[in-house]
């Protein structure tokens, strides 16, 4: 169930990359003999801020240029679009979006529920690494498009002797009230399991070490929030340490917040996001939605899109952004992967509610 | 022509219960609301301040109560200067225009309220409440809520509440104005009875001249912020100090003319009358005569003994129940006089158009110097 990522895995499929689909080839890589009617627009659910800007620059705008189909970005929260899509499927209605940009865990729930279209036929999948394939599901109900790391972000001014080495730093008295975690503890459960003296092999069977460690962190009165909160808290000097996605930390740094990040010795959670298409679209719209995703996994699209996000993609040969060369949150070398923890989406999906509940139970006390 | 004796104005031994001296009230816009008001009220007396709306009577009452600070002047209650004393530190019971009972309390709780607020011994409070509920004839109704009582009963609760703490002074701010006539007259007599029983010094404010005459020992008539006259009711009625008082208390007809040796000359018609104060002959004057002091007869011979007799033509006859009011045009005067006829035997004696004779005695036509007071009309 546990996948320590290897460089080999990431680079698999390099051979196929030679025939990387180009912008012009979107129309060329036809799934159908005849091109169906183009819809006026495609609606893509996306995260706001730098996330949607990166998607727009790397995927949506070039797609529009190549096909003439406008792309509208729906910035409804991923958690809030999910029940709407599910309700539409249950009632046999046309879903409110064409493409959902989603976490792999959430997307897996939708896949299990059977509301996702199968994407196995996308021609460009041939050139992707195995990161693109969702683990534990049949076919491609979703296509993973990049990986990301829940790093330990910190303010360098409080660490004059270099970055913190271990998640244990969260327990130092001087950081009482100056720590931030995600609301539901996402990204923190697995490193906490290691930091609490447990083993990753025990997930999900015995996670007591994680809960013990989280209970100790609770004594430190951490703040709990979402991505935008972290940026605000760093900016306003409310916190010194946070477990957050590296993209957010990088964005805050770009905005002038003095912030750095590291992967401590216990490791960091590595996860993926992907794109999927809800069931119930008219045939022609489904066709063009597939074309959009097919285009999103071309090296050209990935390069621009993921430069914006600062994350490693699912096609080989991408050039990392200059500021992320040798960055632990942008794994390229074998040793980069040694400290990244990846748990299969299926295990996460089955147990996530319990983990969230347990985390809440500790934190709401 | 024998003027009524002047009322006894000599102050009683000791201090008057209420002394108002040179009080002005300036609200900053328009003329003074109260101007130069001064009067003294002896202990146990019932004074009514009478005047039309806007006359300053309510303002004067609120100044005495302490809800308003006068711009100038002094208030003394029981010899104590209270001009700057807060209302709840003055020993004053007040009955308000809209009663201002506390709807969330029973009648008895309303009556007990001032005792509690004035920190009376709790043990004595129930007895006092009972006594005063009995005084206002509400014995047994103390447990009722305010909205369970009739209008008259609510009046009585308000009186008991104002009196129960035995204040030195009782103030009545037109509490009867909203009642129907029958209840109002009943309550007027009740006020008088209770006031006499307790002997509490009382100041009442009203615009109802009948109420003032019925309940009061003394009346002050106010107009335009000024005290026009301060007198006993009968004197106020018979000897008004100026045309305003004459017009406001009772029903009078006014004649314009010039002063003569025997009365006044109204455009050639000689009218016998009595001057109020010294007025030189030939001066412009105003005469006032009350409707009930003019006699009306078909045969002028029956008016023998009247000092003035004039022919007239009945223009209208108004039935008022216990009396008739005639509007009689007197061609010699060029105006219509109001004439009361009280004799039930001769009801509807004259129809409109009937030719009649009017007569009066010299002492009943009061003659005022036009320069003196305000116009009666």
């Amino acid at each position: 169930m546990i996948h320590r990522l290897t460089r080999r895995g990431l680079l698999r499929g390099t051979a196929a990359a030679g025939s990387a689909a180009l912008l012009g080839s979107v129309a060329g890589t036809r799934l159908w003999a005849q091109e169906p009617e183009k819809p006026a627009e495609l609606i893509v659910r996306a995260w706001g801020g730098s996330w949607v800007e990166a998607l727009k620059a790397g995927v949506s705008d070039p797609f529009t240029k190549a096909t003439g189909i406008a792309v509208r970005h729906d910035l409804t929260e991923d958690n809030e679009i999910q029940p709407k899509v599910w309700a539409a499927a249950a009632q046999g209605r046309v879903p409110p979006i064409h493409i959902n940009w989603d976490t792999t865990t959430n997307a897996t729930k939708s896949a299990l529920r059977g509301v996702t279209e199968d994407l196995s036929g996308l021609p460009n999948l041939a050139a992707t690494t195995d990161l693109a394939k969702p683990v534990g599901l049949d076919g491609y109900p979703i296509v993973n498009t990049y990986g990301y790391v829940y790093v330990l972000a910190y303010r360098p001014e409080v660490f004059p002797d270099g970055p913190p080495k271990s998640w244990d730093v969260l327990l130092e008295p001087r950081f009482k009230g100056r720590i931030a975690l995600y609301n539901d503890g996402i990204g923190f459960h697995f490193p906490a399991q290691v930091a609490g003296g447990g083993s990753l092999e025990d997930i999900p069977g015995n996670m007591q070490p994680a809960w013990d460690f989280i209970a100790k962190v609770k004594e430190q009165q951490p703040l709990l929030g979402e991505d935008p909160d972290f940026t605000a808290w760093f900016q306003n000097g409310e916190i010194d340490l946070a477990c957050t996605i590296s993209t957010n930390a990088r964005e805050a740094k770009k905005n002038g917040v003095d912030i750095a990040w590291t992967v401590p010795e216990e490791g960091c959670k590595f996860d993926t996001d992907g794109l999927w298409i809800p069931k119930g679209l008219p045939e022609n719209e489904l066709y063009w939605a597939k074309q959009y995703i097919n285009f999103a996994i071309t090296p050209e699209a990935q390069q621009v899109w993921l430069d914006g996000l600062g994350l490693p993609g699912v096609v080989p040969g991408l050039t990392p952004p200059a500021d992320l060369a040798n960055d632990p949150s942008y794994p390229t070398k074998p040793e980069d992967f040694e400290h990244l923890i990846r748990i299969s989406a299926q295990v996460q999906v089955e147990n996530e509610s319990d983990w969230f509940a347990k985390f809440k139970e500790i934190m709401q006390g | 022509m024998t003027p009524l004796p002047r009322p006894d104005r000599a102050p009683e031994p000791g201090q008057p219960a209420v002394l108002v001296r040179d009080v002005d009230m300036d609200f900053g816009s328009g003329p003074l609301a109260v101007a130069g008001a001064s009067f003294a009220l002896a202990r146990g007396r019932f004074l009514t301040i009478l005047g039309p709306s806007g006359s300053g009577k309510t303002t004067l009452l609120r100044i005495i109560a302490g809800f308003q600070q006068p711009t100038r002047g002094e208030i003394r209650i029981g010899g104590q200067a209270v001009t700057a004393t807060a209302p709840h530190r003055r020993s004053i019971g007040m009955v308000f225009q809209k009663l201002a009972l506390f709807p969330h309390m029973t009648a008895a709780e309303n009556v007990a309220f001032p005792l509690k607020m004035r920190r009376h011994d709790p043990a004595t409070i129930p007895g006092k409440v009972e006594r005063y509920l009995d005084l206002v004839r509400l014995g047994g109704l103390g447990g009722r809520r305010i909205h369970e009582l009739s209008g008259g009963q609510q009046q009585r609760v308000a009186i008991a509440r104002a009196l129960v703490f035995e204040p030195e002074l009782l103030l009545l701010d037109e509490p009867l104005a909203a009642l129907d006539r029958k209840l109002r007259e009943e309550m007027q007599l009740e006020f008088r009875r209770i006031q006499k029983e307790l002997g509490v010094t009382t100041i009442n404010v009203t615009h109802d001249q009948r109420e003032a005459l019925v309940v009061s020992d003394e009346i002050i008539v106010m107009d335009h912020g000024r005290i026009q006259q301060h007198a006993r009711p009968v004197e106020m009625y018979r000897l008004p100090a100026n045309p305003f008082v004459a017009g406001f208390v009772g029903v009078s007809t006014f004649l314009e003319g010039r002063r003569t040796a025997t009365g006044l000359d109204a455009g050639g018609a000689a009218c016998a009358g009595t001057p109020v104060g010294a007025i030189p002959e030939g001066a412009p004057v105003q005469g006032a005569i009350r409707a009930e002091q003019i006699r009306i007869e078909a045969d002028p011979a029956r008016l023998a003994g009247c000092d003035t007799i004039l022919p007239g033509i009945v223009r209208d006859t108004i039935f008022e129940g216990e009396r008739l009011l005639y509007l009689v045009e007197a061609p010699a005067l060029g105006l219509a006089l109001q004439v009361y006829h009280h004799d039930p035997e001769e009801f509807a004696l004259f129809d409109a158009g009937a030719e009649v004779s009017l007569g009066w005695n010299a002492r009943d036509l009061l003659i005022f110097n036009r320069q003196d007071g305000r116009d009666g009309r």
Partner: protein
């Protein structure tokens, strides 16, 4: 030539009345009352339908293999909710927070409403109203964000404390901060509900109390407060319900560890996709809110809201 001309407005009204007569003939007039409240009934009906839907959902557990609600009905979600120490704590915190916020709000709203009603100058009254309404235009989320700025570690308050040599204090992200934010959010509602109740108390009643020997404070305590009771209870019910069901204030000022029930419901619906458990929690919140309203009305009677006939 008459000096009176039949106004155009009257002609218009006549035409409208004739049209209304065609649409809703006179003989239907005894149903007119029902017609008027029909939209309100429809809205309530929709709400009831939604509640029924939720009640059904709350009886179905989530199958994590398919992420579909179960076919069979059970009380498992309620057992989960009632068996969880976390939810008990969240419910307790919501009720305590709502009660505290209501008490503080009423304590602050009463003098404000009193001033609003009794202040003599029209200019002062308008100023008080503007100050009261301003937060309404700003909106709850922006207001909460304002508190983040003012009370944050680098905020104005801590800067002021710094000037007198006090180290920065954590003023946010705790229970008092949530209650504080709720009070600020609820104050205008309470003032607007109290003002009419206080207007209904004649100024003369207070004057009377003063003349009977009550000081200003005792007049307020013994006369104004008891007479304002319907308004206080109405305002209390509204603020209590709003506070109990609030989402944004605990989310923004609680720092994630001060969840109210609404936040827990949100988590179930949107974070863990467990609509069954979310529905169960939502219905328990409806039940708790209804119980509080019923308790208050039972204790004081519906007449306390100045509705219906006088008692």
């Amino acid at each position: 030539m008459s000096s009176f001309r039949y106004p155009l407005r009257w002609r218009l009204m006549d035409a409208l009345e004739r049209a209304a007569d065609l649409l809703w003939p006179e003989r239907l007039s005894r149903f007119t009352g029902w017609l008027m409240i029909a939209p309100a009934l429809l809205l309530v009906g929709l709400l009831v339908l939604g509640l029924a839907e939720m009640a059904d959902g709350s009886l179905r557990t989530l199958d994590r293999a398919t992420f579909l609600p179960s076919e069979e009905l059970s009380l498992a979600n309620y057992e989960t909710a009632l068996g969880s120490a976390t939810y008990w704590r969240v419910f307790g915190r919501s009720i305590l927070g709502a009660t505290l916020a209501t008490a503080l709000t009423l304590a602050l709203a009463f003098p404000y409403a009193y001033a609003l009603v009794r202040v003599p100058g029209a200019v002062t009254r308008k100023a008080l109203l503007v100050v009261l309404f301003l937060p309404f235009f700003i909106g709850q989320v922006v207001r909460a964000y304002g508190w983040l700025i003012i009370l944050g570690n680098g905020g104005m308050v801590n800067e002021a404390l710094g000037l007198v040599g006090i180290a920065p204090q954590r003023l946010l992200f705790n229970f008092p901060a949530v209650v504080f934010g709720l009070v600020q959010y609820l104050l205008p509602f309470a003032v607007l509900m109290l003002a009419p109740a206080l207007t209904a108390i004649p100024a003369e009643t207070e004057t009377a109390a003063r003349s009977l020997g009550a000081s200003w404070v005792r007049t307020i305590w013994h006369v104004v407060l008891p007479m304002a009771r319907p308004g206080l209870i109405g305002a209390g019910l509204v603020t209590m319900t709003l506070a109990l069901t609030d989402f944004a204030t605990p989310a923004m000022l609680g720092g994630g560890s001060q969840d109210f029930i609404a936040n827990a419901i949100y988590d179930q619906f949107f974070r863990t996709a467990d609509q069954g458990l979310g529905s169960a929690l939502a219905l328990m919140l409806v039940a708790a809110g209804s119980a509080i309203v019923a308790l208050v009305l039972g204790l004081f009677g519906a007449g306390t809201l100045a509705m219906g006939a006088r008692r």
